[in-house]
Amino acid sequence: MPEASSLKSHYGRRGFFDALVLVIPAIPFALVFGLAVRESGLAIWLGWSSSPIMFSGAAQITLITLLGEGASVAAAATAALVVGARHLFYSFSMAPVMQRQPVWFRWLAPYMLVDQVFALCVGKQNLPTADFRHYYLAAGITFWMFWMTFTAVGLFVGPVIPAGLDITFATPVLFMGLLVTAIDSWQKAVVAVFAMLVTFILADMPSRSGLLIAVLAGLILGLVLERLRK
């Protein structure tokens, strides 16, 4: 591993701790996935294998649950792909900053580009090249190890966290914090509010596809607002 020292660098440590804060509220989600595997009736190793192979929580739950319910492979795969399609936006958003990175990292980084890693790194694009890489790797590896471990734990223990103490809400809370601190113009604020509104209105669309339309609508509005500024 060319970056074995990444945890020793300052930004490596920051990436680790920032990811840790997002790991904790995601624990119930990982345990729920383990439970979904057990209830699907699939062999547990088979269900869990989607963790290292796909590394995409919501898409994994969609796929395994639908397969367990007896949906056709094509239907389950299509739904899971639609759920995961937001990653196309992450890829697009990260493309410029990745141009300055070494080739090995450009091939490795997409594997770890989960919601939390995107949320943490999207505001760090102005960091020096090596610092950005250390931060991204530390956050990505931390999240990866967490997801592998806790989806496996969930296969055996089920959700052990009491329902009364709902910590999963900490994820939208932290994402809201990251969103607000990333906004540096009124245009971006308007776009964010608009994207939320469209997602809310399209809540009933299948497989979270409302999110994709909301993001596209937000981008178009952003470009229109840019025109108005001139």
Binding site: L81, R86, F175, M176, G177
Partner: protein
């Protein structure tokens, strides 16, 4: 075996969706319009993601008052302090506190 093949194909699909622009655009200069649009991807996706997390996967579930209050607290605290620990503590405090009262 069929299921495992499906999971492997989905894994390739997941990777492809995350990699496509990073790898294909690695040697291209971005036209100004694309660069402008890029700036809005982060805010738009994050906002849509936050809202998606409040809605149930089956759709139709309207977020409850204490969920709105928790999110509003998070936004205000982030705006005023830029400190994510304060955001976490205060917003979760409002969320749990109001949820307990209601």
């Amino acid at each position: 075996m069929m299921i495992f093949a499906t999971i492997v194909l989905m894994g390739l699909g997941s990777y492809a969706m995350r990699a496509v622009f990073i790898l294909l655009l690695s040697n291209h200069t971005f036209p100004p319009l694309a660069l402008k649009a890029l700036e809005y991807v982060g805010p738009a996706v994050m906002a849509a993601l936050v809202m998606t997390m409040l809605l149930s996967p089956e759709g139709g579930h309207a977020p409850r008052v204490y969920e709105w209050a928790g999110l509003a607290t998070a936004a205000v605290v982030a705006l005023l302090t830029r400190n994510h620990i304060y955001v976490l503590v205060l917003a979760m405090g409002v969320y749990w506190g109001l949820g307990y009262l209601m």
